[in-house]
Amino acid sequence: MTSVRWGLRSVALLYLALLLLIPLCAVFWRTFEHGISEPLDAVTSQDGLHAFWLTILCVGIAVPLNTAFGVLTALVLVRQNFRGKALLNAAIDLPFAISPVVIGLALFLVYAPRNSWFGETLAQNGIQVIFSVPGMVLATIFVSLPFVVREVMPVLQEIGTDQEEAAETLGASPWQTFWKVTLPAIRWGLAYGIVLATARALGEFGAVAVVSGHRNGETETLPIFVQRQFDNFSVAGAYAAGLVLAVLALVVLFSLNLLQRRSARATDGEDAEGAPPATTVFVPQPIEKEA
């Protein structure tokens, strides 16, 4: 028994080490292989800083929008019954299932300055979406859309409507009920969803690369900056920018862990069976029909 256990453990750990951990450490090593000045110069170059701030801008617009509309959509899907609900629920998962490149192409076909659905009209009014920042923001919103909805929905199902109804009976307005009852109850799930959406938005490459047209440094986020540095044989610069993104990812991973432990502790104190485990994998769940 113990030899089997040891064998399985070794196989699992070896697989993870070869696939994840050792390659990740190799990035640190590659970045500083030839000293610290070259990678540092690349990241603090004008293009590097511009890419960093453009990434922050895209995330800063996409994540708050997805948070607000995500909570609203989750409330609608859990608390209301209407025709087409299953369809709306299924549409939420589409960004998970679709290739980032296809997402980019889709936006291209709607908003490109020529030969598209709305691009020409917008261009006549002086609005450029493709090869420009608005398109990159739209791509970022698209790819990070499902996370908040999918993390908040199970929590809403779990908490039920008793407390909300009590607040309503006591004369609270819908707004008051939302801010004072619903929001505090879903806060951990919401935070988890926001962190996941942020991670995805920070690192999106394919969809943003298609719509940015990578003309020059103007429309470059950090992931695109990594690729261009690499293609220009500035390998140290590519690894340096990659390392910045990897460190951000580790921060995300750490916060997810922290949130999981916090939410577990928060529910332990109450009578609940334990919080529904927050997850990064959204296995399709049937929507519960509520009376």
Partner: protein, 256 residues
């Protein structure tokens, strides 16, 4: 009513409208042209590579994902919590960095002497990296909930380990493994970022479907890009739909 309308409008504007544009462009010049676009030699080779490597990756994930989940649930060892959180790393790490990490270790001048860059093996390695969490995270909660009494009973009746696993544990895990594999496959056939730097994107050799689509957009062949996109969309959306039906079917047939 207002909330419902706003939510529907948001999803429609952001997600459904652009996807409708892909469908419409894919079939713009008729079915014949659509078929010609996806059966062009370069497109066909890219699609074939994508499907075959995704199938290999899913098969490996089914075995390794289940094994890792088992170790994380049933085994105890120091540092287990850290290993558990490392599983999510491929989701947290930007895809371009995923490619970069594999390149750092298995690229040119590899410090360990393994040269994967610009080979088809690199496609499989990158896809294994980005799809790692799916099966593990799908199986883990099911294994946690699994009642161990049956296994103990079987063991006390003298059943050997492999028999217990095959007849008791595996049948209970199969739905979760299938769901995880389905999601991993949908992810694998669309993967782009982690492959761009690592595979060299050589047509007829290491170029996958998403990279082919990207190339079509760059050369302004949008109909060709849309046709292959529709093909990928059909597979991944069909798969998602099937998994949803499967989940619904299972809840209806549970505890009958």
């Amino acid at each position: 009513m207002l909330a419902r309308g706003t939510a529907t409008l948001w999803i429609s504007l952001i997600v459904l409208l652009p996807l409708a544009a892909v469908l419409s462009r894919g079939f713009e010049d008729g079915l014949g042209h659509f078929w010609d676009s996806i059966s062009a030699p370069e497109a066909q080779s890219a699609i074939k590579l994508t499907l075959i490597s995704s199938l290999i990756v899913v098969a490996i994930n089914a075995v390794m994902g289940t094994l890792i989940a088992w170790v994380l649930v049933r085994d105890e060892f120091p540092g287990k919590r850290i290993v558990n959180s490392v599983i999510d790393l491929p989701f947290a790490l930007p895809t371009i960095v995923a490619g970069l990490t594999l390149l750092a270790l298995y690229g040119q001048n590899s410090p360990v002497g393994v040269h994967l860059a610009y080979t088809r093996a690199a496609v499989v390695a990158a896809l294994l990296f980005v799809t790692l969490p799916f099966v593990v995270r799908a199986v883990q909660p099911v294994l946690l909930e699994l009642d161990r009494e049956m296994e103990e009973a079987a063991a006390s009746l003298g059943a050997p380990n492999h028999r217990i696993f095959r007849s008791i544990v595996l049948p209970n895990l199969t739905p979760a493994i299938v769901a995880g594999c389905g999601l991993a496959f949908a992810r694998a056939i669309g993967e782009f970022g982690s492959l761009v730097l690592l595979t060299g994107n050589i047509p007829f050799n290491t170029q996958v479907a998403s990279v082919y689509i990207f190339g079509r957009v760059e050369t302004n062949d949008l109909s060709g890009a849309a046709a292959v996109s529709v093909f990928l969309l059909a597979i991944s959306v069909g798969l998602l739909f099937a998994l949803n039906l499967f989940a619904n079917w299972r809840t209806r047939h549970e505890r009958v």
